[in-house]
């Protein structure tokens, strides 16, 4: 991609999209295919593809911190974390064309039917105003758009109509051992759908096993949203990079947005007008921009007559257990997962007849749990070598001791929507344009902690069945976020209880739409981006209808 140095606004635009992550990219691509004039305003830069290997090296070598791999940090990205739990915001997002998919892992699964009906099915949290059937066709299109390698071998997955666009990655050596142990315990394992090319796809190469998918895939084998942006650009979409939108301005009636006000790198301020505006700035910056866009008519921020913009911030929490075994586990060849189990998703309390004990609480006392079998357990030799204070033969000997017998399971645990977890503004600190920084106020509550403990218990049983000596565990006290920002502009039919309607248009403004996981009502425990993509395609249909 080459840079467009003209950063003046476009004339006569149908749709202005804010944010060039997967959500914004997919909306743009879909609308351009319907012959609408679309412009995307993106805060970060277009990264040069040729630098990817250098970024990969930075990610492996100590002395470069993780956010710096994609140039995150500094005044532009300043934030505060004020909740009971620290939130490492800049580890969890990337600003630039492609958005956070530049550093993501690329696991892409559909939410389960129950995720849309938590109130009806489990009697907790809230139901979505749409159900699985409403987005089911969009999931299929999203899988095509993201290039998913997967199989229909998951007995717990919701119904699907057609196979994935690419075959799944074959299981790893350790997957096979996990599968045997799980079978003895009555636990079914299955493949992981990956947004990663198991075969050449759409002109992009097949995965070659660099093993550094997260935070950098040096080839184009892992999907990132630059792929969609390129398609959208070919279809006529204009992408203006390095132009953070400062605020959205509405007309005198307060019913419609007139313009997105943005600043260029040389400090000029411009107004991009359009008929429709789609906010796709990620789960943190989307509510922040709404709050920053306060006006006389909307003193509490735009689209915020419910007072809920920024509220109900949710994350997925990591639960993990690992150990060592007396066989070679062959880890760290690739940087992605090939097997998992959703057996404890719809009912985390249920045990199995052959060895997983049932929980000592009801299903409703938990959140969904997804369990994964690692392909990168334990240390990688290069990581150890670069951190080591020995070298030569001594180093080789210590690497031989440390590498080879590690095994581990990971997993995600959902979090319920809680009003007291929120993204707000912190006026005591400003970014490089003088705007109050985002404030993340977050904690891990008891239900989530109980679910993490449950995940750990199942992991321990499986690893013990495999003969592992357990050496570490990430439980409720050590857990951290999976970097999935959800819930901050929730969807609903009641304008007093939600920010956007089921078509993802804000209740308050006729031409303002929101794409991304901020509209999620509940979190589930599936990585969110396939659902983000499906909702983006649905939103594009609604915007198209309105034009």
């Amino acid at each position: 991609m080459t840079g467009d140095s003209d950063r003046t606004p476009s004339d006569r635009v149908d749709v202005c999209i804010i944010g060039a992550g997967p959500a914004g990219a997919l909306v743009a691509d879909r609308l351009a295919a319907r012959r609408h004039e679309v412009v995307i305003l993106e805060a970060g830069p277009r990264f040069d593809r040729a630098d990817r290997i250098e970024r990969m090296e930075r990610s492996i070598r100590p002395s470069h911190d993780l956010p710096s791999v994609w140039d995150m940090g500094g005044e532009r990205d300043a934030y505060t974390s004020t909740g009971e739990w620290f939130y490492p915001l800049n580890n969890s997002r990337v600003k630039g064309v492609g958005g956070t998919t530049l550093s993501w892992q690329g696991m892409v699964m559909r939410l389960h039917e129950v995720d849309f009906e938590m109130r009806s099915e489990w009697g907790v949290a809230a139901d979505w105003p749409i159900d699985y059937e409403d987005i089911r066709p969009y999931y299929g299109s999203a899988e095509s758009a993201l290039g998913v390698a997967g199989a229909s071998d998951n007995p717990f997955a919701p119904p699907r109509e057609s196979p994935h666009p690419m075959p799944p990655f074959p299981p790893s050596h350790s997957d096979a051992r996990f599968a045997e142990a799980c079978e003895r315990l009555g636990v079914a394992t299955h493949s992981v759908p990956n947004a990663r090319n198991s075969a050449p796809f759409d002109g992009d190469s097949k995965c070659v096993g660099f093993g550094t998918c997260k935070p950098v895939c040096p080839t184009d084998a892992k999907y990132d949203a630059t792929r969609t942006i390129e398609k959208a650009t070919d279809a006529g979409v204009r992408v203006i990079d390095r132009v953070p939108v400062q605020r959205l301005e509405h007309d005198r009636s307060g019913q419609v947005i007139d313009a997105a006000v943005y600043v260029t790198p040389d400090g000029e301020t411009h107004r991009q007008t359009a008929r429709q505006f789609v906010l796709a700035a990620g789960g943190i910056e989307t509510p922040r921009l709404l709050l920053l866009s306060e006006s006389e008519t909307y003193p509490d921020g735009l689209a915020n007559s419910s007072g809920l913009v920024g509220r109900y911030f949710m994350e997925h929490l990591f639960a993990g257990t690992g150990g060592i075994v007396d066989w070679r586990t062959r880890q760290n060849h690739v940087g992605f997962l090939t097997s998992e189990t959703h057996q404890f998703y719809d009912d985390p309390a249920a045990g199995t007849e052959r060895g997983i004990p049932p929980a000592d609480a009801q299903t409703a006392a938990f959140t969904p749990i997804k369990l994964e079998f690692f392909n990168y357990a334990g240390p990688s030799p290069v990581g150890l070598a670069l951190d080591s204070d020995i070298w030569g033969d001594e180093l080789l000997e210590s690497l031989r001791d440390a590498y080879g017998n590690s095994i581990a399971m990971g997993g995600l645990v959902g979090q319920r929507p809680r009003k007291d977890n929120f993204v707000g503004l912190d006026s005591s600190k400003t970014d490089d344009h003088g705007n109050p920084v985002p404030r993340v106020h977050w904690r891990v509550d008891d239900v989530t902690k109980r679910s993490i403990r449950r995940a750990n218990e199942i992991q321990e049983t499986i690893l013990t069945e495999l003969g592992a000596e357990l050496t570490w565990q990430v439980g409720p006290e050590e857990t951290g976020p999976a970097f999935h920002h959800m819930g901050t502009t929730r969807m609903g039919t009641d304008p007093a209880e939600s920010v956007v309607n089921p078509r993802m248009r804000t209740h308050d403004l006729d031409n303002l739409w929101i794409a991304g996981s901020s509209v999620f009502v509940t979190s589930g425990a599936m990585n969110p981006t396939l659902t983000i993509a499906a909702l983006a395609l649905k939103l594009a249909d609604h915007v198209d209808e309105s034009l």
Binding site: A50, D51, S198, C207, T219, V382, W391, D393
Partner: protein, 182 residues
């Protein structure tokens, strides 16, 4: 376990010389002047000699062919990333100054046990690698970790540990599926 030019090329692939940035000197393994005729970015012979001398103590004794490997690896990388090359050259200068001050000889002219001792004496073993740090932190980054990165992101280096397709090396999708015997 012999390192070969193939390994250097593999390491260079991991360092960006042949993937992403377009193929450079894959055909010969030697750095060439760039297509547009601008100046070559090469490390001088004495810098390379010093790096080879350092690799001889940093690499395990089972590794052979160090000279050819290090030469191809660092020259190839510097060709792509001139700033990085300047960092390496400066760190190597410091290493030589240090060796002259303590041992009255350039680093490459010391016997291996003295090279090992010199690196330890300056604390390159415990220093934090930092490309913008103190002299020793830069030696750790541009010499010690540079050379270890080259070795342990290639199959030759990590096969010694039992891993044929390490992080940072595009070794395909077959190895992760295989059990230890095959």
């Amino acid at each position: 376990m012999r390192l070969t030019r193939r390994d250097a090329l593999a390491a260079l692939t991991a360092a960006g010389v042949t993937v992403g940035g377009g193929a450079l000197f894959l055909s010969t393994g030697e750095p060439e002047s760039t297509a547009d005729g601008t100046a070559e970015h090469r490390l001088d012979e004495s810098t390379v000699r010093t790096l080879v001398a350092a690799a001889e103590v940093l690499y395990p004794s089972e590794v052979e062919g160090t000279e050819e490997f290090v030469t191809s690896y660092v020259q190839g990388k510097v060709e792509e990333r001139p700033d990085h090359g300047r960092g390496i050259a400066d760190a190597v200068d410091y290493l030589d100054d240090y060796a002259v001050a303590w041992y009255d000889a350039k680093f490459a002219d010391l016997v291996p046990s003295d090279r090992d001792e010199a690196l330890e004496r300056m604390n390159a073993d415990t220093a934090a690698p930092d490309p913008n740090g103190s002299d020793v932190e830069r030696v750790r980054y541009f010499v010690v970790n540079e050379l270890l990165y080259g070795l342990y992101t290639t199959p030759t280096g990590t096969t010694l540990v039992g891993l044929e397709n390490p992080r940072g090396h595009p070794g395909g999708l077959a190895s992760y599926q295989r059990g230890p015997q095959s």
